[in-house]
């Protein structure tokens, strides 16, 4: 068995050193980070500077309330709006003066509340940048509240009561777990789905990589020297382990990035609701189910690679093998939203579906330990059987050249080998 290590090392070193691996492994987190974090950071930055704003109130009754409310808005202890007093004068001259200031960049924008606003509820915001919706929706909300307050006071309700009556509902979502309750703004569903996607993608990517390696070794005949040196089963396991270790390395790099992002960028990101905290148990589950999923599906890939002569020939054989994995991924969202349902529970015990669906259940709502244990035991048994068959197919197929074998022929190899 000591002969397996050179094989594992070769697979590992050759692949990890390749440019493609370095690029994918290092670039993926950067790109992901850019996609997820950059917009948030940009917005944060924009919000970091108070928006210089002026209020032109043609109704003559809302100005004070709106300005006060705007001035009171704070984010992270800083004021979000800097109220500039308008010059005064007639409405027309005032507006044109403000427009000048906006154009010259001394003012970000101004709010115009027209005379008939009390009836129409229409107001205007004029600014160079009108896409900073976080700020603008706040302005809208404040004007709306000012209008409402004014109307209610007009109806004879006391100002102090208005506040109490109009306070809007604010739904906080809290995730209950054994570690206590944590606020969660819907990010965890996305994160879980993202991780399930990562699981699916990596299993497919590394299974495919293994298969291509097997085909390549077969076509350039390097395999003949290999099987003259070591048993085919050793070669098979060595390749499986080597490529798996490469996948695991990639996973480690990626999850380290996730953890680092959590440590250094965590508070800011969490404040934006972009990245809920990833519990360590989820990361462990991700690694465990990657390893299990990989060993199940990669064995198929290796057997297919050994049976065919070209990658084209392999494609038609891969699809049926991949079906359960695709199915599991498609089912993942419904399992995530109903992790304790009987259908979800049953599905998560079907070994080919277990890697993704049991993982989804764990992330969504930790099932009882015995369920996790049982699913893993069933999966490991399946892996053992599949690998045993795959090794036999590999052994016969690897030295077969010529016509692609039919499925009955491949089944005969399993018995004959």
């Amino acid at each position: 068995m000591s002969r397996i290590w050179p094989v594992v090392r070769r697979e590992y070193v050759e692949r990890v050193r390749s440019k493609a691996f370095l690029i994918v492994t290092l670039l993926a987190p950067v790109l992901m980070g850019a996609f997820v974090i950059l917009p948030g950071v940009l917005m944060e930055k924009q919000r970091g500077r108070a928006l210089r704003i002026a209020v032109v109130d043609e109704t003559g009754v809302l100005k004070e309330g709106v300005e006060r409310a705007l001035a009171n808005q704070k984010a992270d202890g800083r004021e979000r709006f800097e109220i500039r007093k308008a010059e005064g004068g007639t409405a027309a001259t005032e507006l044109s003066a403000l427009r000048e200031e906006v154009l010259e960049g001394r003012l970000d924008g101004y709010v115009r509340i027209p005379e008939d606003a009390l009836k129409t509820s229409q107001a205007e915001y004029h600014g160079k940048n009108v896409s900073n919706f976080l700020d603008l929706s706040l302005v809208q909300k404040i004007i709306g509240e000012a209008l409402l307050t004014h109307r209610l006071v007009g109806e004879g309700i006391e100002l102090s009561k208005v506040r109490a009556l109009t306070s809007a509902a604010d739904l906080k979502t809290l995730r209950v777990s054994t570690e206590g309750e944590k606020e969660d703004r819907g990010g965890s569903f996305m994160l879980a789905f993202l991780m399930a996607g990562m699981l699916y993608t990596t299993v497919v990517i590394w299974g495919q990589a293994l298969m291509n390696g097997v085909i390549e070794e077969k076509t350039n005949r390097a395999v003949e020297v290999m099987v003259a040196s070591i048993p085919t089963s050793t070669l098979f396991m060595g390749k499986l382990l080597g490529v798996g270790a490469v996948g695991l390395t990639q996973f480690f790099v990626w999850s380290s990035c996730l953890v680092l992002a959590g440590v250094f960028g965590g508070p800011a990101l969490a404040a934006l609701g972009l990245l809920p905290e990833v519990p360590a148990t989820d990361v462990v589950a991700l690694l465990v189910f990657f390893v299990l999923g990989y060993f199940l599906y990669a064995a198929f890939y290796a057997a297919i690679g050994a049976s065919v002569n070209t990658q084209q020939e392999a494609q038609s054989l891969i699809f049926p093998v991949l079906m359960p994995l695709i199915l599991a991924f498609v089912l993942a969202p419904s399992v995530l939203s109903n992790p304790e349902g009987s259908v979800s529970t049953v599905l998560s015990f079907i070994p080919p579906l277990t890697p993704i669906l049991m993982f989804a259940r764990i992330v969504a709502q930790r099932p009882p330990s015995w369920q996790i244990g049982l699913a893993i035991v069933l999966l490991v048994l399946t892996i053992a059987v599949v690998n045993w068959c795959a090794a036999r197919i590999y052994r016969v197929g690897i030295l077969m050249y010529g016509k692609r074998p039919t499925l009955p022929e491949i089944l005969r190899w399993i018995r004959a080998a």
Partner: protein, 306 residues
């Protein structure tokens, strides 16, 4: 320790639809340079694959260095397949060290042995290059290093000369003879008769999976020889026709071709002739392996050369 490095006994191997090797029996003495001959599709590669334990026979018995084929015998064999196969994108040195390693040679030891071999095969400057940057001939030399770096006792080379230029072929021949001198057993398969005839001590000739002939090259030739002697001489050679062991002569005055009886000793004839005549030329007319091959296989020359 038996005198044979390899012993095949009644080996049969069938693939779906056809029998590749049928009831094959022969022995390869230790330290011999052995040629496995046969036309394309004769079963040479299948036989070699069974000796290297890549394939198992359907029936029959194989012994390699007194061992039943397995990891232990595999480690003591160096095998160069007909279809050369190296990992094209791997750096040559690392590849060769790797291939020695899976044969059980420690990494450091393989690293130490490698430079002299690269030097000898003219690849010293190519060690750090990727295999796919090497020419075909260089790749073949590299494959040869891969075959012997773990210092095997038995070398199995499937068509070792094909693809080499004359200089490369000479280098290969010198290296093989060197290894033979070191006591290695070398098995090479070829349909290149002239090479085998000059290089090999013993042969087996197989055709359609069956053995037609085996044994030391000299014996094989004798068995299938025309039993003739070419004699160039001065003097009266009429007595030769009456010498024991001589069947018939065709006398042309200063040259005669002597047909011997089966089993006659040409050396005895030479002694008699040398006593009475001035001998300018005495040559035992052996058939070439090529002649034997053609007569046994019954194929055309073109088929043999292919």
């Amino acid at each position: 320790m038996s005198v044979n490095a390899v012993r095949l006994e009644g080996i049969t191997k069938a693939y779906k639809g056809h029998v590749a090797v049928h009831d094959l029996t022969f022995e390869i003495p230790r330290g011999d340079l052995f040629g496995l001959l046969g036309p394309n599709g004769a079963g040479k590669t299948t036989t070699l694959r069974m000796i290297t334990n890549i394939l198992g026979p359907d029936s029959g018995r194989i012994e390699v260095l007194d061992l039943v084929p397995g990891q232990a015998s595999r480690d003591r064999i160096g095998y160069m397949p007909e279809e050369r196969g190296l990992y094209p994108r791997m750096v040559l040195e690392e590849q060769l060290i790797f291939l020695a390693e899976i044969k059980g040679t420690p990494r450091a030891e393989a690293r130490r042995r490698l430079p002299p071999w690269l030097e000898r095969m003219g690849l010293a400057e190519w060690g750090k290059r990727k295999v796919n940057e090497l020419s075909k001939g260089m790749q073949q030399k590299a494959q040869f290093i891969a075959t012997i770096l773990h210092d095997p006792e038995v070398l199995i080379l499937d068509e070792p000369m094909t693809g080499l230029d004359p200089i490369g072929a000479n280098l290969m021949r010198d290296v093989l003879l060197d290894m033979k001198r070191q006591g290695k057993t070398i098995i090479l398969s070829s349909h290149h008769m002239e090479t085998v005839e000059r290089l090999c001590d013993s042969i087996a000739l197989i055709h359609q999976g069956r053995k037609l002939l085996d044994g030391p090259v000299g014996e094989a030739k004798k068995r299938y020889g025309r039993n003739a002697i070419a004699l160039g001489f001065e003097g009266d050679g009429s007595f030769v026709a009456n010498l024991p062991g001589v069947k018939r002569v065709s006398d042309e005055g200063h040259f005669m071709e002597i047909q011997m009886e089966k089993g006659a000793d040409p050396q005895a004839i030479l002694r008699e002739v040398a006593l009475r005549l001035r001998v300018n030329r005495f040559e035992i007319l052996e058939p070439s392996l090529r002649d034997i091959f053609v007569s046994l296989v019954g194929g055309t020359d073109a088929e043999v050369a292919a």
